[in-house]
């Protein structure tokens, strides 16, 4: 008597597993391979044949591949109940920001500024102009709104113009917040976005007392920085470095950060910009492209560039950053770190521009110097150009009414990548976000059109670049990426094989 092969006695593959929610797509140059991303953010690359077998229920559920896919929450083997609670916890973890309410509250204490930056995206006013500072009543009402927000952890950011020109107002707001917080008991972080030019000892002592984080702009070596951020005295870079040194001495280096904005002139110097940040002792660099707002919009023809040009710059910068980190320097690229954190961990990164639902209004409220409340800095910039459609109301309006206002309804309708055409089935959806204000600014449509969206093109190119590295799995590159995500030195990261990287994702 001849026995049938063992497979004959196993359940039919078609009945052997259920698919769990996932999306799929392909990376450029890898047409025979499919990237699969689950709602939990876990991902895997499969050869086309394996992918089709999996998606079409032709995969043998007893294979190691089926078990691996179950481990990644992409399928559920057998006829038993799906462990719903595990998936619920994973979803809530990735959307944790949704349950907090606005945690970032931006106070624009003045529009006055001593700079005339070529790419300035706000509606700055001359240093001596009157009528562009926040008054005491507006400040007090803004603090009312701050404490109406349900978030337990609040970040209060002071912006301008140059906010140090209205230091007395900053002091008054901080003292008001601290006094009220004795009974409200929120965890509050203060941030100042400033050129740091002319910062005084008195100001630094105040910032130290209240544990401020200081954020400034540093566009690269002196020639580039001075070109982008001109002063009549042509010493903007020197003044910035003097301010950084003073701030570090007073607050500690960990409390002083810098951002770089990239003009066309910057694109030829990725290595020099990265090296300048290392020379100046920074541990993070944020390579930001120009924004299509305010004065920057008028300068785009002269200073702007295409997504392809930006990505060519970014690839060179990333390659150089990886090399320098492997040499022992510590410098993470902030945007790549945000995206990698979202890809390689179960947690939400919290970055306002990449949330779904949108971070505008749900994560941020901005109080302008004149008492208007906006859902983001970009909405304020549009209003300064005359487009006030995203103005939520005057600062005396209760929080609940601001959140139920018509602009918020618009933002909510257009702010879900899960439901936007071109986003809903995108393989990068679990890590990306909706920005209806940006879509309106660029395309005059809050819903946007992904196939022609510069925002989408840049996001897609960034994800393709990072997932390309993850697929290649070069151990050195993986160590650098993990060091950025874990905020540790490369030397402290042990080698991880590409398979481990995928399974950990």
């Amino acid at each position: 008597m001849k026995f049938q092969p063992p497979g004959t006695f196993r359940p039919q593959a078609g009945n052997g597993y259920r698919l769990l929610p996932f999306r799929f797509g392909r990376l450029p140059g890898r047409a025979d391979e499919v990237l699969i991303t689950g709602d939990s953010g876990r991902f895997v690359f499969l050869p086309e044949t394996d992918f089709l077998a999996f998606a079409q229920h032709r995969l043998d559920p007893d294979t190691s591949l089926a078990m691996d896919l179950e481990g990644l929450d992409l399928l559920h083997r057998g006829g038993g109940p799906i462990p719903l609670e595990r998936h619920v916890v994973a979803w809530r973890t990735r959307k944790a920001f949704l349950f907090d309410g606005p945690s970032l509250h931006i106070f624009v204490v003045t529009l006055r500024c001593h700079h005339s930056c070529r790419y300035c995206q706000v509606s700055r006013q001359a240093e001596s102009d009157a009528g562009y500072d926040m008054d005491a009543a507006t400040a007090s009402a803004a603090v009312d709104r701050l404490f109406e927000s349900p978030a337990r952890q609040l970040t209060v950011e002071f912006q301008g113009g140059e906010p140090l020109l209205a230091f007395a107002r900053i002091r008054g707001i901080v003292e008001d917040i601290v006094a009220r917080n004795r009974s409200r008991r929120r965890a509050i972080t203060f941030v100042l976005a400033s050129t740091l030019h002319g910062i005084t000892g008195e100001q630094l002592a105040f910032f130290r007392e209240h544990r401020f984080e200081l954020s400034t702009s540093l566009d690269g070596p002196a020639a580039l920085h001075n070109l982008n951020r001109p002063l009549p005295t042509r010493d903007s870079h020197a003044r910035t470095m003097t301010g950084i040194a003073a701030a570090r001495a007073a607050l500690g280096a960990d409390h002083v950060n810098a951002l770089t904005t990239l003009t066309r002139a910057s694109l030829a110097h990725p290595e020099a910009i990265v090296d300048h940040y290392i020379e100046q002792g920074f541990t993070s660099i944020f390579l930001r492209p120009l924004s299509p707002y305010g004065f920057a919009r008028r300068g785009l023809a002269r200073m702007g560039y295409t997504t392809g040009e930006f990505m060519a710059f970014y690839r060179r910068a990333l390659t150089h950053l990886i090399r320098r980190n492997l040499e022992g320097h510590v410098l993470a690229e902030a945007y790549a770190t945000l995206l990698l954190s979202s890809i390689l961990t179960p947690f939400a990164h919290g970055y306002m521009d990449l949330r779904s639902p949108t971070g505008a209004g749900l994560g941020v409220l901005l109080y302008d110097y004149d008492g208007a409340v906006y859902p983001s800095d970009e909405a304020r910039m549009l209003a300064a150009e005359g487009d006030t459609r995203f103005r939520l109301g005057p600062v005396q309006t209760p929080y609940r009414d601001l959140m139920l206002s018509e602009p918020m309804q618009t933002l909510l309708a257009a702010g879900l990548t899960e439901s936007l055409a071109g986003c809903a089935d995108c393989v990068f959806q679990p890590y990306c976000g909706a920005d209806p204000i940006d879509a309106h600014a660029r395309q005059a449509d809050v819903y946007g059109h992904r196939p022609t969206s510069a925002f989408c093109a840049r996001q897609t190119a960034m994800f393709e670049l990072l997932f390309g590295h993850l697929r290649e799995g070069d151990p050195d590159v993986m160590r650098v990426f993990q060091s950025w995500v874990q905020r540790r030195r490369v030397a402290e990261i042990r080698d991880e094989s590409p398979e481990t990287t995928h399974a950990a994702a």
Partner: protein
Amino acid sequence: MSIREVTITIQHCEAAHAVVLRTAHRLSGRHVVSVVEEPDRSLVRLGAATGVSEQMEQEFRTLLLDDLLRARIENETAPLRRLIVEAALRSALRDPGDGA
């Protein structure tokens, strides 16, 4: 530069009109696209400059195959996805302030 136009006919038994629309949307950044629904089929007109237009139909049909699979997966998994999101939101309402 001259524009070449191709018309692609997709019977509803091959692909639902909603799926055809989804595929056409993907190409709407690079080609001039129009889609018409008839009782038994969808008519897709794609226009592009001569020289890049030759592969249009093949590219469309390749993308359509993926979108058919996406639609099938979505049909199969959407109820579970809805269940997970509803349960997550309900649990958050039960535990206000307890995010994750």
